[in-house]
């Protein structure tokens, strides 16, 4: 029986040897955030479940490619992100995920804890989140759900660091406007 300690030492090493309990623990830890991330991008339950399943299968088959056990979470999300991109290209080949030019931005520390949403604002928060363009929504979800660093988000999404900063900046700006409007 694999036990996850309080500091969340994930059993990645055991998973490399094919131990089923280790994989069960890892998937259980990430299944909901992973699904939430994918769903908020595809907006379809079945598609979201399919992508999560494909992500899990790919992770089991390609665990040997993971170099750093500590990066298992970002690695798993990068697989999910790629699966989402493939899904997006199949469904909407005419649309393109615009890669806007990154601006020189001040390197703000984005603290998700500073975003405390009141209950009456929750719906509005989700509405604003869903209105964001997909590129911005993607990076914002990654930062909210798993508190990935800017570098990790850049690695997951395959983007330059400046682009990630730019997208987070505009996404935060839109959300902050909502918070201020409702104060």
């Amino acid at each position: 029986m694999v036990v996850v300690t309080c500091d969340e030492t994930l059993p990645v090493r055991e998973a490399r040897t094919g131990e089923p309990d280790a994989w069960d623990t890892l998937f259980k830890r990430y299944q909901l955030p992973l699904y939430a991330y994918v769903f908020e991008l595809v907006r379809d339950e079945q598609a979201g479940l399919d992508i999560v399943q494909e992500t899990f299968i790919s992770a089991v088959r390609n665990i040997g490619r993971l170099r750093d056990d500590q990066k298992f979470g970002s690695w798993l999300f990068s697989i999910a992100h790629q699966k989402w991109i493939q899904h997006w290209r199949k469904r909407r080949p005419e649309d393109r995920l615009e890669n806007e030019q990154a601006e020189q931005l001040i390197d703000h520390e984005f603290d998700p804890e500073e975003w405390l949403i009141r209950k009456e604002q929750e719906e509005a928060f989700m509405a604003v989140l869903n209105q964001l363009p997909l590129p911005q929504r993607s990076v914002l979800l990654l930062h909210f759900l798993e508190e990935f660093s800017l570098e990790e988000i850049a690695s997951i999404a395959g983007l330059p660091l400046g682009t990630v900063k730019s997208r987070l900046h505009y996404a935060k700006k839109a959300l902050r406007k909502l918070v201020e409007e409702n104060l």
Binding site: K28, L32, E45, L145
Partner: protein, 146 residues
């Protein structure tokens, strides 16, 4: 008040059961796929090439540095052995020829031995030199004028 993470996850909490079923299905299928995969030790279809490759990887390749070190040590020992054997072979195959002076010494010794043997009458080993004999017969007692 909630964080954005709590809000987002809460909205998808009702999908948890489907995700549990999905997770278990994936793990079960992967376990079955691993169990049915052919191994080098399968009795029905022996895969000798795979068996040999696996032996090679586990016994040799995994500790190739150790094998290389042992090989180098043996090479050194073998080289020293061969060099030592060559030296001994050279010593045995070419005995040092006798020099002329040594041969001359042997000849001189042989001549002396022959002269010595000729001059000295051989006495019976059973009769001591001063055995009891009539005094007149003893050479040492013969009168000088006789």
């Amino acid at each position: 008040m909630k964080t954005p993470r709590e809000i987002i996850l809460q909205r998808h909490q009702n999908t948890e059961a489907k995700l549990d079923a999905l997770r278990q299905r994936v793990l079960r299928e992967q376990s079955e796929a691993t169990a049915s995969a052919p191994t080098p030790f399968t009795v029905d279809r022996p895969n000798w090439a795979g068996f040999v490759m696996r032996l090679w990887q586990e016994l040799v390749w995994s500790c190739r540095r150790v094998w290389l070190g042992l090989g180098a040590v043996w090479l050194v020992i073998l080289t020293l052995q061969l060099l030592g054997a060559d030296a001994q072979a050279v010593v045995k195959s070419e005995p040092a020829p006798f020099s002329p002076s040594v041969l001359e010494i042997f000849r001189a010794q042989r001549r002396l031995a022959a002269e010595f043997n000729d001059s000295m009458p051989l006495s019976s080993p059973d009769e001591p030199l001063n055995a009891t004999r009539p005094r007149t017969d003893r050479p040492s007692c013969r009168p000088a004028f006789a």
